[in-house]
Symmetry: D2
Subunit: 374 residues, 4 copies
């Protein structure tokens, strides 16, 4: 069987999730190639060696540039912090590697465009890890929308709110610096809900009106030595227009007390509506404006084998998918995109759109006006 | 015991709700005066007489001007469609009557200001029926916010969405005409959520950025003879700034498939959050960012006798209040405002603010910019 | 218009709820007679006079026997504690009054039978206040079951659990004495769920197997002077067989920490299921085992004007009924039963069945065997 | 690193779940030995070879007896239908292999006892796949109970209801035959909830009173040729007594329309309560009978890194675990039980208890009396 050798850079939160998914995927899905956990890079040799052992990678290095240059690596999997994506991806592309990168793709649209151009010129395949669109319930939502089952969409409401920085004592780190993170909540979480908005509606967002706010303007350094300014948004909200006239709005917040995985959306159509909350990721609420009035209401659909990609995990409905299962679907899509030439979404070009939307929302805020994307 | 003789104008949806509340209130609450269902006006004598019999009013008339001029009437209760509020209220005020009016107060801020000025000049008492702020759970939310229990507010999200016009076959009526309704969903439902935003936060909204949309641009006349244009918004969304820097957003829609009583809000503070949905009107979700991390989550508070105004309805928690119970609380507030000189909120002056906000949102949409309210 | 003069005995929790409902009902429903809040009895003259004033009754007395003998009283409304029902009802019947009694009807089946016999012999009308069956959502559940919409029933699960005695410091009172309350949680709450079981299924329970338990075996007297034994059950559970072979189970508890109004049921049929929880009294969950598998799930039906008795409260769906609204429906049923000769359910005979079931569950527990009812 | 070579028998629903978990576990948890997917047995060579390829096993065989005798196999993993467990386990034990078996362990207690005795005599390790007790939220529930956080337990309610046989057209298969399945819903699903009852309470069930029912008495053969009798229960309910006086009840049903993964429990204590539903497997509802009355309610705890075993899957709360993640925890427990001599629960001896409870419930039904265990 054909193999794809994976070179993983970064073994934090996302690096481990990728490793789990890479190992589990072949037992879950029939794949056109077998992903091989081959090479792992971390910030130094010792950590890299330990992580390789823990996550089941054959080789390790303290120098990611060695990894991207290694002739046996087929796919470079970038799980390093945002500000490193560009350099790593360009290096990988320069060596002709396929690239699987975490999101957001870049710190801004200009960088993302350079990356997308480079990838296209090199003819390599890319995939960006907006994993929430792989969830079975969300794939189902997309199918319901695209089939017209709830009519024409009239409104989209989305949010991705969490509270990981709700406490003002949470220290300043790379998330709160402009040069390492780019936008704040808008970049980290807003990128997901913007991607979700386009995925679910099947339309492009064409105009945005945004409002950003930094609520905790200073945070302590991790060592508590002094306070430093927070350089990006704690919370953002924006009104949207899509290219077909559809309107909607989004929120992104990292200070939304109580929300742990608060990605949620409501899709309203002329004949029905869908409500989803990632904190109940295996449930989709579906309303149809049909049948006797006394029998209309939101129906709770538990993810099951009649929904996209669920059956590979379990033949029994309602048994529940988890966060890491989304990554397993994503790995399947990566493998099939490379080994079976299936379309990859979102690739670097698609992810560039998300960076453009982020930039447009920031600019809209600064200029207090609607900003259009061509 | 002192009495307050009520003259009710209009016996549709709200007129009946007022009648139920006027009759029940004295058994629920100790009152400083007894409301007497005295006089009822409808569009003709026959209907008025029938409705008076059904709703338990002593006298009736087909001419509301007779009612407002009647020397025995203490309070004129206006439950006629929006476009009649102004004329009726001004006539009542001219006769020195207290006025209890349904919302929105007027078709626009200019009219509302005339009404508020007239009421204040006449020295009469007024109350406008934004009844959702009387619900025990919502009063509790306000208490939690104002006590600082969830810290300083950092975000307000509100919506009042329903689907009574989701079906494009729902005919054109006074709701869809500018000269009879003023704004559409924004006026009918948005007025509630704007009032709620100020009530809950205890702050004034100082700037708005709105987006309105008419989705069903034509509707049939009731007799099906022809299609006529819809003259106001089916759905509106707006970003908000409050006078203390707090930000937020609202939605109002009459075409939100699936939402029957879709007033909902989320209040996020620095130390916690509150989530409420009027479709579960006896539940408040409260999150506190305190205690062991593994025990943090939203707590479902069922309305009970330890919450505002509940005990008068039942000594037992969780037994549930209903829509009409809110009106009973409102009637209590009306009676106490008049007979015991307690503050009345929202009076005509407060309701004028809501009309100003509606106008500002419309203007913001037209001019594509933030509109401030002094 | 015909009137029915009401003589109310007892003005605690239920007495007030009856008063509210009696006053509101004529504005809510068209009635065949007008209930008049005429006479009120309490334990002494002073309290009676005060309560009459508060609840809007014309006359008052400190002697309930005077009330039941009063020639102007048409209906005696018994809201006194359980152990007084028998004496009061028999006296009322002896004076030819119709009787509206709170539940449970009696302390045991023998007493209830005497009461039912007396009422039938006197030819008067009776109604017992099992008010939860009047809720619109529960009436809808009954309609769905009886129409066959969820097929043949295969299982009934019910509980009525509350936590008003969860705290062992809650003092001994009439609820915990055998001679004043009869059974404990089983009598107070179990009576509701047993009535509900028969109402919803439309079948008689024919055999029971029960298990009772007193968890807090001693409680302090209200003055804290000493501990006295608790004489009845804190919690009960029972297996059921209905006369058509259907099986099910019930629970009743007064020590179920967290449950405030914890009446809940699940009806499972061959073609669907219904789930209901009184803490969300305006929601019914309906599942139909039909249609595409990927679209099956429980649908949340919000009570609305297409459901039984809702439209009289509001023309708009989802606006929510409350606890007292159930009593308004009950009063309507009482009035129509008396003034328009509609069937009254549950009357004393039906309520005797409930007392028999309670006795049978207690006996089953004592004898550790199934107990059949004829 | 030490390895444990796994020989998997059976690759249906559970076989695949085991394979996924065996592959993913080493990336999720630090393990004392590395499980190696070594050998796979299916009903014939061809299927076995295909499944080995799909699930990532090195070798395959059409003869399970070859597998259990293979000297390189350390652990025999039995995922074949219930009626084969005994023969396979005894053969594995005879070859000195550790055994990881799906549940229920055996068709009856007598067989289970033989298996437990054999395993103990051979000194090998065993684990039975009651996977729902591995879920983070359920482990948390157990911790809350055992720490006394909700006081002394006063009631346990549990159910495991599904609807996979709700449709009477679902054909007769091994589930509905006494000689292949043993008990019906009671064995398949009741075994889980009985295990859960003992796991959560930390007590043994000492007496049971059961009621079984076969609702669909005949089902078609798979080829539709004729109807054959169903030989075991479609639904069962039972009252329970635990060895410390605690009472409770359980249900198991395979015809519970609407329930897909309907394992649910409520634990009521003197100071609080826990409510859980496996259909929302990453949520635990916790109520504490403490603090101001107006702030008491059930708190929704989303599984997170402060709860047992969650952090290995994700450092972020609320991200959600899935069905297969439970199996990953189970595999970790298996490996640590064997390689690090940690206690294994439930082993064959514990699982024998479950079979004894199943038998006792059946006998109780037959004899219409409480049945005690020792």
């Amino acid at each position: 069987m054909k193999t794809l050798r994976i070179g993983l850079i970064g073994t934090g939160y996302m690096g481990k999730a990728h490793a789990i998914a890479l190992r589990a995927a072949p037992s879950v899905f029939p794949l056109s190639a077998l992903p091989v956990c081959d090479y792992l890079a971390e910030v130094d040799e010792i950590l890299a060696a330990r992580k390789a052992r823990e996550l089941g990678f054959a080789r390790s290095t303290g120098d990611w540039q060695t990894l991207v240059a290694d002739p046996d690596v087929d796919v470079v999997d970038i799980c390093a912090p945002n500000f490193l994506h560009k350099e790593m991806a360009l290096a990988a592309v320069a060596h002709g590697k396929h690239v699987y990168s975490e999101k957001p793709l870049a710190l801004n649209a200009a960088d993302a465009e350079i990356m997308a151009d480079a990838a296209e010129n090199a003819g390599i395949k890319t995939l960006v890890g907006f994993n929430y669109i792989r969830n079975s319930a969300t794939q189902l939502a997309r199918d319901i929308v695209s089939s017209g089952e709830i009519g024409e969409l009239v409104h989209f409401r989305g949010r991705h709110n969490e509270d990981y920085m709700a406490d003002p004592e949470v220290p300043h780190d790379w998330h709160t610096r402009r040069d390492t993170a780019g936008a704040g909540a808008l970049g980290d979480l807003g990128s997901h809900i913007l991607n979700m908005a386009e995925y679910l509606t099947g339309r492009y967002i064409s105009e945005v009106f945004g409002q950003l706010q930094t609520v905790t303007c200073q945070r302590p350094l991790a060592d508590g030595s002094r306070m430093v300014p927070v350089e990006n948004d704690d919370q953002t909200q924006a009104l949207l227009r899509f290219d077909n006239g559809l309107i909607g709005n989004i929120e992104a917040s990292r200070i939304a007390a109580g929300r742990k995985m608060g990605l949620a959306y409501t899709l309203t159509g002329t004949k029905g509506a869908i409500v989803f909350d990632q904190e109940r990721m295996s449930e989709l609420q579906l309303y149809k404006h049909e049948g006797p009035k006394g029998r209309r209401g939101f129906t709770t659909l538990l993810s099951g084998p009649d929904h996209p990609d669920y059956a590979a995990f379990s033949p029994a409905p309602g048994h529940g998918l988890g966060y890491n299962d989304q990554k397993i679907v994503e790995v399947r899509d990566l493998i099939e995109g490379i080994a079976a030439s299936r379309p990859l979404y979102p690739d670097f070009r698609d992810a560039w759109r998300i960076n453009r939307l982020i930039d447009a929302i920031e600019r809209s805020h600064a200029e207090a006006r609607w900003i259009g994307l061509d």
